[in-house]
Subunit: 451 residues, 2 copies
């Protein structure tokens, strides 16, 4: 059995490891254009910040560790073509520039995602313009950051909020530009505005946020030295990081005739099978199902990639395993503010036709007399018709992530508001409040459902 | 409408507040032998430790705050008799020593629990022997603790583990005696032993734990000055705290003909109604239903008391509200070690006839390269026949409570092992691991279920 895997960061690395454990006699080969396999992309902002010095800490499993377990890693070998008829792939060795073909019995596409650069094609190759995706990107950004004082972040999503924290902690002045009315457009606006307010109030005047605006002019030749926005705001800059979104890497899949889903990512079933037999896709290049709405979504996250890689491996090794989908659970932080969500936001739910009911509650996360007490603000969203909980967002210096994980498990089990009202959560003064914010929010929603 | 409530700590105080909000025109009276109402019993160990100086911080709502909202508080007024025929209670004013009668339309019994002193009757009135239940107990223990060096704790459950932390942080030498083979008998032994090991390794030689032993002799007249155990271990002591269990306060209820349940606590239905019309019971004096086993249990906790007080109030005010029961979720800590559980332990489950399957997994709670990373050890227990998750225990310096709260929500929703396998939990390096310990444990259990 020849198992070939394209891509080796999260889904690909997991698929390879799991397949080799299940079928030790199979040949397992990973081909990647990258210089490393099996590393934590999510950890790059903390490497850039300087939380640790050696980027090799981000590597989950090294090439030689893979090879010791019998998995062959082909770094800097880009797969350029899949031929499903002959069950072969064409590979370009980026170091020798030679092409060669490889046979497969089972193929796993785990090509991941890449940063969107649409609208920035003109500047993407300037010396001081960056995107963050690979280990090399992280090393370049960290090295450059240390030599400059004024940095511009384009985009106000997760990656740039994490980079903002890294840069601010390093004493830099940062201007962040987001085209939406608020940063973190993944959240509802009433929560985004709280995040934005916190950032402005806790960043020692190092941060400037410009929203509902975009760049109209970049100044500079080899390097960008200044920026002018469409509203006429102008400022100097020494470094630009573009994080305005990512998109799935699907070129070789579509070239081979593999179908994409409505989101533009590779369509897969719950066993991670693509439209072509013996070809699987998993991780950021693959479409997912949202468990709440039962609609196709594309939410690329490392935690999901891991589960999908495992699912693909189990199925291609002959064991039936379904991956049911995602809840859009995610978390990040900015200088002590934890920001977390799961399920649908209210705006997403309304767009999908739900008659939503919601509440926003602020409450202490522990007994008020304990020194470690902090606030959490929780937004809970439910469906007026079914009374099902649709999603939640929590921010605060308190344990927002803890609350959202609890709700995530509820969402995965079709929890209704009444099931949350009295749920027996752990209580002790250093850990929680005797009336938990989940109870408080559920009670308010319950009374709204009655009216 | 005359609403009379007996007891005012957690359930009683909550019932009074909720009833007054729902029926502002009703008269609401709390009678209690205590000197305070509405305080956090669970916070007493932290007051004793010195986390805060003023015990009034433990008071959730003062007498005058209650009275401002129209609720009458009768402190140091002990209810001595309930007469369901005439719908009257007899009250003894402890300050004037006068008896009087009070009429009720609806009566709520929230008399709570009291420490077990069986076997210690001979010493309970000695000057340096304490139990911890009320605010006064807390003040006395704290004052005494500050004047001594060598303290003996009888019992190895939650309260004494919290007192142990308080005393050790204050530099005291403590001997703890537990008659079971391990401390924290509320946990399975494989987890208890880890807690015990941690305590012994992290207490700067201030702690001695004696298990499978009991006191055979107390030395001293007015004060206990020495102890000899049944195994012949002898030592001096300056102070003794007995926390060998609590029992529900049900005397006036049984005198009135109100039925108790098999646990010895007052039997109530899901609306907190006792066997006698218009009399409700809630909080530590009332029996509960365990949601997993659907059996009567008596697990007295402040968080439950709060929900039951609210439920009683809603029902007596005419709104239908059910309280479904408890999961035995609880948490505590000892010098950085978080100790948490929910659902059934394996020993409880086996006693109930379940064919259990379990696993114990130790894993990092966050990305390994983050400085805040800590370990968690999780025991997950499932039912071999139904594949339902029955319970979990988590300990560690990491976020054990977070994991247990997530499982608690799953338990409340009849979660099966397969539902936990791929559940979409929040992931980011400062908050969690990309493969969560819940996923790891579920995968191991799943493979055991297959075999």
């Amino acid at each position: 059995m020849k198992i070939v895997i394209i891509g080796g960061v999260a889904a690909g690395a997991k698929a390879a490891a799991k397949a080799k454990r299940m079928l030790p006699e199979a040949s397992v080969n990973i081909y990647t254009q990258d210089t490393h396999v099996s590393y934590s992309t999510c950890g790059l902002p903390y490497y850039i910040e300087g939380v640790f010095e050696n980027y090799e800490k981000l590597i989950v499993r090294t090439k030689s560790e893979f090879e010791k377990s019998g998995i062959n890693i082909h770094l800097q070998n880009r797969v350029t073509k899949i031929n499903p008829e002959s069950k072969k792939i064409t590979v370009l060795n980026l170091q020798t520039n030679e092409n060669y073909e490889v046979e497969y019995d089972k193929l796993v596409i785990a090509t991941g995602a890449k940063p969107v650069i649409k609208g920035f094609e003109r500047i993407i190759n300037k010396k001081n313009v960056y995107t963050l995706r690979t280990l090399e990107d992280g090393v370049l950004i960290r090295d450059k950051m240390r030599t400059v004082q004024n940095i511009t972040l384009l985009g106000g999503g997760y990656i740039n909020i994490e980079l903002l924290e890294a840069f601010v902690k390093n004493g830099k002045n940062v201007t962040l530009i987001e085209k939406s009315p608020f940063i973190m457009p993944i959240l509802d606006e009433d929560i985004s505005i709280l995040v934005q307010t916190y950032i402005m109030e806790n960043s020692n005047n190092q941060v400037k946020i410009i929203t509902e605006d975009y760049i109209s002019e970049f100044i500079g030749e080899d390097e960008i030295t200044g920026i002018i926005t469409s509203k006429g705001i102008g400022f100097d800059t020494e470094m630009v990081v573009i994080s305005v979104g990512v998109r799935p890497v699907v070129d070789i899949a579509t070239d081979a005739g593999i179908e994409l889903g409505v989101t533009g990512a590779i369509r897969v079933n719950s066993r991670m099978e693509t439209s072509i037999k013996d070809i699987y896709a998993c991780g950021d290049c693959a479409e997912k199902v949202h468990i709440i709405s039962n609609t196709p979504v594309w939410i690329p996250l490392g935690s999901t990639a891991n589960k999908e890689g495992r699912t693909a491996a189990m199925n291609l090794c002959g064991e039936h395993k379904d991956f049911e989908g995602v809840l859009g659970s995610s978390v990040t932080r900015y200088l002590g503010l934890n920001i977390s969500k799961c399920g649908l936001t209210e705006k997403e739910a309304r767009k999908l036709g739900y008659d939503t009911v919601s509440t926003v509650v602020t409450k202490k996360d522990k007994a008020g007399y304990m020194p470690e007490v902090e606030n959490i603000t929780l937004k809970l969203i439910a469906d007026m018709r079914s009374h099902r909980i649709l999603g939640a967002q929590a921010i605060g210096c308190g344990d927002a992530d803890k609350k959202i994980d609890s709700i995530s498990v509820g969402l995965a089990n079709n929890m209704e508001v009444k099931d949350l009202l009295d749920v027996d959560l752990t209580y002790a003064p250093p850990f929680s409040a005797s009336v938990d914010i989940l109870h408080s929010a559920a009670r308010i929603i319950q009374s709204k459902l009655r009216n």
